[in-house]
Symmetry: C2
Subunit: 536 residues, 2 copies
């Protein structure tokens, strides 16, 4: 049984015997000699996947099967692709090449490329280890992330990895290793001297645009805050979508660095930079089954902070009905994880558990949210947005040591009162190619409006984030910047029948109608009642 | 928190509240109203995947995102496909359609089809449940298998399901449910009255062609044995590949039924029938990471037996170095699982744990294996193949009650001696379109031969199944029926330097050379030694 015991141990990441190593090396050499040449049959579409279609018979004669990898060579360029076999569509001597790969190899229709058998990538062994419940070390994790970035791991394999992490979890060492691997997968910002801060919100709360208030305050206080944000996936508007109403947000890493060097702060779309780029891939994999393994979530968020060099970090964890995190115990666990992993990455990090059971601000949707933000920065605006933003900004000021403990919020409020925050915002808008003199009335709020009124009287007991998001999306968000919802009421308000609850804005009559129908489905505003539902 | 508690329970398979159900129904109706029409951009390749490429902007306006499902409609035909988004290759008003889907919808390039948003398939919820460690019930499992067969679950989602089953295992009820779902996914044989038997080997042993001896014996004894076999995946030759040397093996379920009604036995390729067709899909999913969760393996094997109505079943579990199962405890566990699940499906099942530490028979590869089989059925041939086959056939005869306990093997041997087995084999060959008068010398053994001799003297301590398979494949197996390896020695034999160990046969000089080089890599025959390997 010795040989098999060796094999098993090999797959558990142990040292290979000389003999075994030699065997593998020779096998590789042997099959690689069997390279063959094919003529390109160009398939004029980009799939974003690294797949080639080979003739079944020819491939099998070269020990190449469905899902295997091959090395493709053309004029000195070389890439690795995953094999799909076909017996009819691709004849012997041909290779089906999708647009993206043809471009990468710089080869056209009917061009000739060399195809070579490739041994399984090491990642597969490590993914299998994780499925078997083992912990992975830094090398193994960075191999997985590296090969993921090179498109060497198929979607099915990626999905098995995420499933394994979801079920077995990631230990602290693994999470730190994953964070570092994600950081190393992309560019770093490298701002040089000076304190660097960042913030993050776990999300799920409609209209929660604190970033656009926090960044100008912190930057005005002289602390770097190079904020990258995402676009909406299921919400009405992401911070990047909303900021885009005021300025461009699509900048590469070098451009971001220049803006931040000048203004201390910036608000750009993360997808435009190459910072922590493995993360975009990981998010795509997690999406189909909405798998959000905690370790991966932590690594994903902290990698973006680490890669910009952030030392002072505030994490907003909203909880409650309609938020992503439902209750305090889960929020506390997550908050402590952030602190622990953050510390290992050299960060002073504060986790803030906030009330996420209703939207923040009055506007939901690009231009409507901008109106709230501009109002707050100019000293007015919705109270909840202002008060949450100054809390977060204040904590960052305290973490950085610029302001003594307990004085953060006060200082943040002062930055608004004395006009510095708005001035800083104008500077950032200008550097990002927007109009710094923009006024509330210039905001492109949709011309079609409909007011939803209360059918009955009573006290408002709940305004649902997801439902509000869904209605705003039905109205055209996030594509239509003028679309969205404007809330007239907050939770706890008493209403009489006929009182306006919220307005829907849209850029076309059709979309407005569609959103009105959506209100019927989602009923986002609930009045106090005893029976919330029955179960059988 | 009530609403969320409801949601969580819904996703745990509990009854939805009236309100919640209504909400979902309305949401579906709402979005389905947003159907739109696209012009087909035909992508002239078949991918075997159910993917369409939509324009990003247009899709998002209909609440359709990457990985979502859409309903496609054309001239009364309707299919569901998984969405890939593209902003450049597919313009607004267009839809990228691969060959397979276009064919299914019967639509050509520039044709018009209707695209409609579809809610997530229920399977995703159930897969998530399994990832969360819950047991699935029969309905949930049959929903997953049903939607899998309809191509409604993406590869990434399928992979997550297999990973979940691999990590969490399947309970007995789940395994039975999975077996039944796989059976229901395809056609059933329905032979009517009369005892029906079947056999299965876990595989991994080179040259192990017992099926081709067992089937004629059992059929000659008057018991139905409608054997479906697979083609080689990583071995030199599957039973279907080897049988193909003597006769056709590609028959549909009706054809198989006719053959069996006449001859009692048949040996066909399982992939040609629609019996237990979900299994082919499950195998494909398990392949990339070689995940073989026990419950899935059991269900996969037993579904094929159950779908042909088999009541008397022998399972061959070879163990030892070079076999799939390494040791006795694992084999016993698996053997008992088979018995337990088999019983729940109404089978009398016997698990036989056999020595799988070296190849069975002398020939490895299509024609060479056929020679062994023909010899054994005619009363000669390699002893190990004969003795293993009569053991298995004898057990089936005993299980069926046709032969008293302890007399099975004797009876099986008699069926060979009295010529009935070979006569039955000839009948089956003829019914399957082959030449029943075939003689040993007619077998198309490759014209190019090379003999590998012992370099040193000693006792042969191991002949490795995998290594022998690899060499046979390098020589052209399983495509080239004449290719393969012929063993001159068995384990335990003493050899002198220069003694022939085995011959390699190939259909071309080039392939022979390649296989000779492969011997250098795999060194399949080992002489006794003390140190088998070192580890650091």
């Amino acid at each position: 049984m010795m040989k098999h015991e060796k094999n098993m141990k090999n797959s558990k990441g142990m040292v290979l015997s000389e003999e075994e190593r030699e065997k593998r090396e020779k096998k590789k050499e042997l099959w690689e000699k069997k390279k063959y040449v094919c003529q390109v049959k160009l398939i004029d579409i980009k799939t974003g996947r690294n797949i080639v279609v080979l003739n079944e018979k020819e491939a099998e004669e070269n020990d190449i099967y469905n899902g295997y990898r091959v090395i493709l060579k053309h004029n000195g360029r070389e890439i690795i692709a995953i094999v799909d076999l076909s017996s009819k569509m691709v004849k012997q001597g041909e290779i089906g090449l999708f647009g993206d790969i043809a471009e990468e190899l710089n080869v056209g229709d009917r061009g000739l490329i060399q195809v070579k058998h490739m041994e399984k990538p090491a990642s597969l062994e490590f993914i299998k280890l994780k499925l078997d419940g083992e912990s992975l070390n830094e090398d193994q994790i960075s191999t997985i992330i590296g090969e993921l970035m090179k498109n060497r791991i198929s979607e099915a394999e990626q999905s098995a990895f995420v499933a394994a992490v979801y079920m077995k979890g990631l230990g602290e060492d693994e999470t730190v290793a994953l964070t570092k691997s994600i950081v190393n997968s992309g560019e770093k910002l490298e701002l040089g001297k000076g304190p660097i801060a960042d913030k993050h919100c776990i999300g799920g709360v409609a209209g929660n645009r604190t970033t656009m208030v926090v960044v100008p305050i912190v930057a005005a206080a002289g602390i770097y805050i190079p904020k990258t944000s995402s676009r909406a996936i299921t919400s009405a508007s992401g911070t990047a979508d909303t900021m885009e109403v005021l300025a461009d947000v699509d900048f590469n890493t070098n451009e971001l660095r220049e803006i931040v060097k000048k203004a201390k702060g910036a608000m750009v779309w993360g997808g435009g930079t190459n910072i922590a780029s493995a993360d975009d891939k990981l998010i795509k994999i997690r999406h189909p089954l909405s798998l959000d393994p905690r370790g991966m979530l932590l690594a994903s968020i902290l990698a973006k902070k680490h890669a910009v060099g952030a030392k002072y970090v505030a994490i907003d964890i909203p909880i409650g009905r309609g938020a992503k995190i439902l209750d305090m115990p889960k929020a506390e666990m997550l908050g402590n994880d952030f602190i622990r992993i953050g510390k290992r990455l050299g960060m002073s990090l504060e986790s803030l558990i906030t009330d996420g059971a209703e939207p923040v601000g009055n506007g939901i949707g690009g231009a409507l949210e901008c109106r709230d933000v501009v109002q707050v920065l100019q000293g007015g605006g919705p109270n909840d947005l202002k008060s949450k933003s100054t809390l977060l900004a204040g904590k960052i000021l305290e973490l950085s040591g610029k302001v003594p403990e307990g004085k953060g919020r006060e200082t943040a409020e002062m930055m608004i009162t004395n006009g510095n925050a708005w001035k800083k915002m104008q500077e950032i808008i200008e550097l990002q190619g927007g109009n710094p003199k923009i006024k509330e009335d210039d905001l492109p709020i949709g011309p079609h409006r409909h007011t939803i009124v209360a059918e009955k009287g009573g006290r408002i007991s709940h305004i649902d984030n997801k439902d509000i998001n869904n209605i705003a999306r039905a109205a055209g968000c996030p594509r239509d910047k003028g679309a969205g919802v404007y809330l007239h009421r907050v939770k706890g308000d008493r209403v009489k029948p006929g009182d306006p609850l919220f307005d829907i804005y849209a850029e076309s009559e059709t979309k407005l109608d569609f959103a009105i129908k959506a209100v019927d489905v989602w009923k986002p505003v609930e009045l106090e009642k005893f029976l919330l539902g029955t179960m059988r």
